[in-house]
Subunit: 394 residues, 2 copies
């Protein structure tokens, strides 16, 4: 019999490039400590702490009562594609044809499908470093190479058209950007995004824009890249703003000529997204749901506005106020040499779980921690006091 | 703006190898006819006509009432992994560690993950022709090449160890077999499967066995490939026997040394399978559920036993009695030259929707139709009478 401490004797090379999430090491240790009776404040988590809104749960319950949940069309239920298109009209004043909307198994499914139709083996996809770790793997699975461009506070942790242009080669298939971004919470300015779209189009490439944190911006509404002309693919999700993480539902809006290709790929790789999640999501755009979500958005803003100055006061470097998502990408270079060891030390000694920068790239990960404010204001206050005590005692 | 009648100006080459499902053409036309008021008997569908069992729906309703459905662990909920492992004990008398069970987004997710860890770009995966069309695409997405080996009634439409050995080369990564198989409904004999496992192991490759139609065998229980030693990956699903197609939930049992790799890939590409589907599936193995499912299995057997001789009598060639699934792969070479045109003609003139062989491979597709018995006995009788009238009038 096989032994799970030995490496697999046959393993595709792509797996060697895929690192485990270091956040998981923190989470495992956090759970171990909790089993020992320790209290831990969880700020390592990349999902909202709010339950799925009641109208969405009710819609799912009604679908369940019907009992019939067969496969849906590969592109998703037509009424849901129409509801998503209407949302662009009401939120953005933008006409988007439902024909262009592909319902997917989360933002993950949307990213996999987009890379599947766009990226040839050996081609590169440009993206920011730091950025969402899985983005690199969607590219690698298709035989492509993620090309991670270091960015910092001077460009609000976002790539610029100028930076992308400098790294664009004949092998570049696409640029993948996120606005708001994980782990930094920053937006790309509309004028800059327009320049990026013009660049990718001029170079015969595609622009994939991750908008899964749309709706979670504070003091402003993010504009959608669907306003822009050219080969623009927009990824969105019901996970973050709509508080439906575990449902695994998202969508992709693609240029019309790609829809048939995306449909083929979805049919083959997924058959369809979850039928029940789709029926539930039909209630996601109802006024009663949006009212709940907007109140939660206010709560998240209040958390950010509490946490950011508090962390600054403790010595973390946060030169920017991120406009969105629910993360602060806190510089800890003045406090520690290695953010991974520091995260584990904070966990052990202060009972606060944070994500080390290592998960997000190779650009100064040792100097950064991602701090999620996906826990209550009360817990955030506890965390800040624990960090204060811990840092004072060092 | 773009025009959806033009081909995409940038498209990964892999997409050219992915054909649309011809069954969809039949389905679209069937729906058009139904909108015109025509009655159609649907025998082109690859999913059971039974609703999800009540205890499973009830478990989902209880999970919904809780309201909290965050991401689960990448490998799936531990209690579900344990329930699946227990099922191997009760059904097969086999000890399978829950550690080896990876819960996936349908059988589709299991196949994608298995190919992801096993197949290098340029490597081949051996499989039967005819077989489930998506299997070829899971290989292609990983840059591999599906190598489809023609099989016929003389080997019960299944590859043999001898056939696989003849086509095994230095570039072969794995053999992918299905038992029972789609579209033919046949099993691989346990002794033959053992020989296949021994061959793949001896050649340093892997054996991936699709067991998603397990439970849907008539007059016998299929043995699981997990009995066999070596690098054996077993794919299963809650879709078919458990009547949960639209929920998109399945599982993979892998050699222990691959579990960590599969976990990494799942975290990156899917985050996790649907939480709600996992909670629902916890009730799938309860005695009350299994009682319902066994009654349905009896109904499917009765349908097969009615339909097979009826189709033979009409002139379709069905030299074998398939042991499982819910398909008959009917030879129509004595009735027509081109099964695709024949399927459309049958649809138009007889109001019966069937799937042309073309979806399943290149080995005599024009001589075969897949006939699903996923509709009521009453509808099957209507279909047979319509076919009789249609054939008599030609």
């Amino acid at each position: 019999m096989t032994n799970d401490r030995l490496p697999p004797s046959r393993l595709a090379a792509r797996m060697r490039a895929i690192e485990p999430f270091h956040a998981m090491d923190v989470l495992s240790r956090a759970r171990e400590l909790e089993r020992q009776g320790r209290s831990i404040v969880h700020m390592e988590v990349g999902e909202p702490d709010f339950p799925t809104p009641r109208p969405v749960l009710d819609a799912a319950a009604r679908a369940l009562a019907g009992g019939s949940l067969p496969y849906t069309e590969g592109l998703g239920l037509r009424p849901l594609r129409e509801a998503i298109a209407r949302f662009y009209r009401t939120r953005h004043g933008l006409e988007v044809s439902p024909e262009r909307v592909v319902v997917t198994a989360g933002g993950s499914g949307a990213l996999l499908l987009a890379m599947g139709v766009l990226v040839e083996p050996g081609e590169e996809v440009l993206m920011a470093d730091p950025s969402y770790p899985c983005n690199r793997q969607f590219v690698r699975v298709m035989g492509g190479e993620p090309r991670c461009l270091p960015v910092g506070p001077e460009t609000r942790w976002q790539p610029t058209a100028e930076l992308l242009e400098r790294h664009w080669t004949a092998r570049t298939a696409a640029a993948l950007v996120a606005s708001p971004a994980n782990p930094t919470g920053t937006l790309i300015e509309p004028a800059e995004l327009a320049r990026i779209a013009a660049l990718t189009e001029a170079r015969g490439g595609a622009l994939v824009v991750d908008e899964i944190y749309h709706g979670l911006t504070y003091g402003l509404d993010a504009r959608t890249a669907l306003e822009l002309p050219g080969r623009v693919f927009v990824v969105n999700s019901f996970s973050k703003y709509f508080d439906m993480t575990g449902w695994r539902l998202g969508w992709l809006v693609a240029p019309p000529e790609y829809v048939r290709e995306l449909e083929k790929l979805q049919q083959n790789l997924y058959i369809c997204p979850s039928h029940l999640a789709q029926r539930a999501a039909l209630a996601a755009f109802e006024p009663a749901t949006l009212e709940v979500l907007e109140a939660r958005r206010g709560e998240l803003r209040a958390r950010r506005d509490f946490l950011l100055p508090a962390l600054r006061e403790l010595g973390f470097e946060l030169p920017l106020v991120p406009e969105g998502a629910f993360y602060l990408y806190a510089g800890c270079g003045r406090l520690a040499e290695d953010s991974f060891a520091f995260a584990l030390e904070i966990l052990e000694r202060a009972g606060v779980a944070l994500t080390p920068g290592l998960d997000f790239g190779r650009h100064q990960p040792e100097r950064h921690l991602r701090v999620s404010y996906t826990t209550s204001m009360e817990q955030l206050r506890v965390a800040v006091e624990r960090l204060r005590g811990f840092l004072a005692a060092r």
